[in-house]
Structures are given as structure tokens and as C-alpha cells.
């Protein structure tokens, strides 16, 4: 009755290892002074990690379009809120 997702122990362990490696990388980079780029790198790595968790641990990769829509709609509104607030803070 349930669609079998193509997820097994192997892929979970690979994602786990990638998440640990990325955590190590983001901590290591934080000790190097890159100016504004520190923020960009930290957010990039965090987003990579978040994508891995959502796609594999949360099975989004194997879900249908409806579940994807439910996952993306709040992200859309979040971008709208954050984007609007940033432009308001910076250019008023």
C-alpha cells in the first residue's frame, strides 16, 4: 500500500557523513577571516546541509509534487518576508 522509497541504510550513512564533514568545514572556515564572505560561506554550507536533510532524511527526493508544494510554499513566503524586510531596512 505504501510506495517504497529508494532509501536504505547506505544512503543515510552517506548523508550523515556529508553532514559531519560540512559541519567540520563550516567550523574550520569560521576561524579564517574572510570579511563578508564568512557570512556567505556559513549560509551556503548551512543551506547545503539543510538540503541534504530535507532531500534524504525527510525523503523529499522521493515525494510527489503535492508534498513538494507543501514544502516549498512556506519557503516562498519566508523569502518574501525576509527579502521585503531587508530592502526596507537597507533602503529606507
Amino acid at each position: 500500500m505504501k510506495s517504497s522509497h529508494g532509501t536504505g541504510y547506505g544512503i543515510y550513512l552517506a548523508v550523515f557523513a556529508a553532514l559531519l564533514a560540512l559541519t567540520g568545514a563550516t567550523v574550520a572556515v569560521s576561524y579564517v577571516d574572510l570579511g563578508v564572505m564568512n557570512v556567505a560561506v556559513a549560509l551556503l554550507i548551512a543551506s547545503l546541509k539543510a538540503s541534504l536533510v530535507a532531500l534524504f532524511f525527510m525523503h523529499l527526493k522521493f515525494e510527489n509534487k503535492l508534498v513538494w508544494a507543501f514544502a516549498l510554499v512556506p519557503i516562498f513566503f519566508l523569502v518574501l518576508i525576509v527579502g521585503g524586510t531587508i530592502s526596507d531596512t537597507l533602503y529606507r
Binding site: 536504505g8 563550516t26 525576509v82
Partner: protein
Amino acid sequence: MSDHTAHPELTAEGSGHAHMDPAQAYDAAKLGIWTFLATEVLLFGGLFTAYIVFRLKFPEMFRIDHAHLDRLMGATNTVVLICSSLTVALGIAAIRKGKQGLLKIYLALTILLAAVFLGIKYVEWKEKFAHGLFPDTDVFFSLYFVMTGLHGLHVLGGMVVLGGVLALAWQGKFTERYYTPVEVSGLYWHFVDLVWIYLFPLFYLIG
């Protein structure tokens, strides 16, 4: 549910009793938890927006204050939560193959890791208080305590939910054909991990 197929008019009208077929119930539960997570994204999203605004307004404060946070403890807690995400995922993989014993072990491990996370958080907060750093110290620490506090409440809530799921697992409620509560609580738990994935660099790493 097969005993209702003889009376389709009863199932169609459904007098207060929802007769969903299991696959439909599973899909509905999944959309339900994703809807809840959508409200959670926007709950934390409001706080992240506040963080961005104050960071833009007071960059010096953020640069100086973030050095007070213990990077090692933050990183340790990140690893703890990643481990707990793995154990929950492995628990679901186990019950999909009908392995009830393994599911119980992975759920117990997840709850244990959640407790470790809160323990480390407790030590961190205690140290901050000991150094005279409180939620009303300045905007940075207001945001730090509110956001990690709200996240900590979510961890606590996750422990309660996963504890309930573990109790059900103990009663042998889950099989390779029925494990919806495990999957739904797992999705919530991964979300709690997701929030921390952003909280950690924003507070501990970038100044």
C-alpha cells in the same frame, strides 16, 4: 475496511467516522505534518527576520557578542542533533523492514541524544548567566536566548512525541505495513535539526 465495501453509501457519507483506506490515511498524515512544518518555518522565520534586521543595524554588537558563545559546545550539539536525525531515519528504515526491536533501539537512542543536546544547552546557558549575560543584556543575547530557547522547547516537545511513539512501538503497534506515527514524528524531528543547522552558524560562527 473490506467489510465496509459492501455498503459504499455508508463509507461515502461517513457519519462522524472517517473510513479512509490506509494508503489515503498515510498520505493525509504526511500532508498534515508538512502543513504543521510550514507554520513552524514561518514561526522561526519571524525570529530569523528579526535577527537579520538587528544584525544589519548593530554589526559591531553582533561581532563582539558572538565571541562569548562557545564554538566547541555549539559544534558538539550540531553533531549530536545530526546523529539523532540519523537514528530516527534508521528507525524508519528498520520498521519498513518490519524490524520492531531495532526501531525501539533507534527511538530510544534518538531520545537519549535529544537529552544530551538539552544537557549541553543547559551548561551553556548556565555559563552565560554566570558571566552576567542575560536575555536583557542586549539585542544579540535577547535573540540568542529566545531563538535557542524556542528551539530547545521544540527539542523537549520532540522528546515527548518520540517517547509516545516509543511507547506505541513497545506495544507492538508498528509493522512494515503501518508505521505512520514513526514517519510523521521523524519528519518533525528532522525539522528541529534543520532549524539548528541555521542557528549554529548564525550565532556561534559569524561575527
